[in-house]
Symmetry: C2
Subunit: 383 residues, 2 copies
């Protein structure tokens, strides 16, 4: 396999974009990204999107975006794995370049959630669960995550307040990110009293679904210097899966897909958790952040929450996470989230993260989860 | 890139499977395929599916299938490009093996259409068109194809009856295929008088949507002999796209995505149309068969229909098509269609096609279209 680098990254604001359609947001991200690299031709566009068929009545999305972006005819396809779609699209683009089948590939994540509101939106989100054994009984992703959090609190004797700093940190970092959805600060002592969403998960705990689009340009490491002065290398790439239904897992409090994905990426990169300078994890709820830290080798079982309570996750901590706000503050644009994570890492590794910069960041990891951990995609990047 | 071979193919019957769920059909195809090869481990499952989010309330499909097939944890993801999803999944599996990232990959196409009937089904199918400029105005895939057929008949002075042999041939071949959905014969002189679906497309002209699942096992050409005595090589692989909305195309009667995809596959395989012994094309309607023959270099503009009227497409003709019934008789299981095509070609190139055998078939091509030609995927295979 050839080595692959990211030559450019483009981020559009995550949020509620009532004035923009899915295709408009996607085109905006394509153009924003093309502005950042000296690219003449693209061989393919890989689109990560979770729910356009249900939320926008639009399947067959990739050729539409290629056309509207002025790239009619280019190879284009969509990859879907719930909110891990963006990470999966990155992996496919990576493999296209690594194989030699393509020289230059755009990987785009896009999601338009605000075209549908209320119960129809919840129903669409629930299509990422097991349709026969979870969503048919009324389960939703946040409801299932809430059951995990309840069990975790019981098993490890922790309280809601112990998770507070995951959100405090995310909003602290997001407050400095002009592309973030919610830039307000959260106070730790207000966290446990926030309005409930799915007990014990509350409004300050769960990440908001967002409209958003972001993109990357990948090319071979050899060719990358022709496109940019600041390429970022993809060092490892791994995908793991698990049952969709959480109740089918022998050990529901362990995200085995995340462990598989992380181990596969570590092995390829020949690195271990101690080498990671920052970690963009999938904080769709604080419990998912805690479990991701455990499954990915940073914390022992039942101790992931301490990364928050001991305040080790800030920009100056031993493992900065959610450095641009994470899903919680920047927003969770579902199938675009994995591309936002990678694009934010590009800024960190280039030293272009401004007020969000992690000092001397050289190795960074992104982990994108689908559903409640049915899919996990992990990438490790180096400058 | 490494050379890649198909080590095994498994086909389940296409049809109306009221008794089976999507996951059950998928698992059946996985098991059927594993029975045909000496495979110990799989590195990944790539799932091609068009509409499960809309028709089964199930996105995030790939990990679910991996789990139910007894392969929990394996890398798994879904590729979506309308009814070209199967062909796209094959291409992704091909690239995974070609890159060296995977040794052995299963590529699965599956679709469950009969969970939804009537206008809800039509609405789901229409999500493969442009949601803002086609389906919002009531357009459906067959309705758009009907407009192309009408225009073709006008431009080239042909009649509905001139297309008859596309369906006569398909049903003649399908009548000998135990996996085909409709095994009845069609008489040429009854074709033009069949009940209308979307004038001038009638019931004998349009392919039926079907439930179905089929799978392939891919591995490196070097390793294939360990898995099977009869590997089939993938010689070329190409994807092209076009506008989703047919009215946006400068020349609506030319499937430019099909030309791009075919040319890319020919170039990689270093072959031309005259080398192709049989062609599994996307006969979702007879007009699409005629246009595919033109765009792929077999017929001049306006002359694709003559392949039918001159009866050149039978098993003993100069270009056999739809050798197991094609979409018309075997059925069109949307996102599984591209895998059915490839699996049928495997049987042909191995000389295992029985009553459907094309004599001395050595090089075969499959072309899978999405929507009304917004996506085209072409693969060329050799024994």
């Amino acid at each position: 396999m050839r080595d692959v680098s990211i030559a450019a990254a483009g981020i559009t604001p995550a949020g509620e974009h009532w004035e923009s359609s899915l295709r408009e947001m996607a085109v905006q991200a394509v153009q924003e990204t093309l502005n950042h690299a000296n690219v003449k031709t693209l061989d393919a566009i890989v689109v990560g999107n979770a729910l356009s068929g249900n939320l926008s009545g639009q399947n067959h999305l990739a050729p539409l975006i290629a056309d509207y972006a002025g790239l009619r005819g280019v190879e284009a396809f969509r990859v879907e794995g719930a909110d891990a779609s963006g990470g999966l699209a990155l992996r496919m683009g990576y493999l296209m370049v690594a194989s030699g089948a393509a020289e230059t590939v755009m990987v785009l994540g896009c999601e338009k959630v605000t075209d549908v509101v209320g119960s129809a939106r919840v129903k669409a989100s629930a299509t990422t669960l097991d349709s026969e054994y979870e969503s048919a009984q009324g389960a939703t992703p946040v409801g299932v995550a809430a059951m995990l959090m309840r069990r975790y609190m019981y098993e490890y004797h922790v309280s809601v307040a112990d998770f507070a700093n995951f959100s405090v940190n995310a909003h602290g970092n997001g407050s400095k990110n002009s592309k973030a959805m919610y830039r307000n600060l959260i106070k730790a002592d207000r966290f446990a009293g926030a309005p409930l969403v799915a007990e014990p998960i509350n409004l300050f705990d769960v990440a908001p679904e967002a409209d958003g689009a972001a993109a990357l340009i990948l090319t071979s490491a050899e060719r990358a210097p022709d496109l940019t002065d600041v390429p970022v290398r993809i060092l490892g790439s791994g995908v793991g899966t698990d049952t969709l239904a959480v109740h089918e897992r022998p050990d529901p409090l362990f995200l085995s897909a995340a462990k598989l994905a992380a181990d596969r990426a570590y092995r390829q990169a020949n690195l271990s958790p101690s080498d990671i300078d920052l970690f963009e994890l999938h904080d769709s709820a604080t419990i998912m952040a805690a479990l991701a830290l455990e499954a990915s080798g940073f914390a022992a079982r039942g101790e992931g929450w301490k990364f928050a309570s001991e305040n080790r996750i800030t920009l100056t901590g031993d493992l900065p996470i959610s450095t641009f706000g994470g899903l919680k503050s920047r927003g969770n644009p579902l199938g675009a989230t994995g591309i936002y994570q990678a694009a934010e890492i590009v800024l960190q590794l280039r030293g272009e993260a401004g007020a969000n910069q992690v000092k001397d960041a050289r190795i960074a990891m992104a982990q994108n989860l689908g559903g409640v951990g049915g899919t996990a995609v992990t990438h490790i990047f180096g400058r």
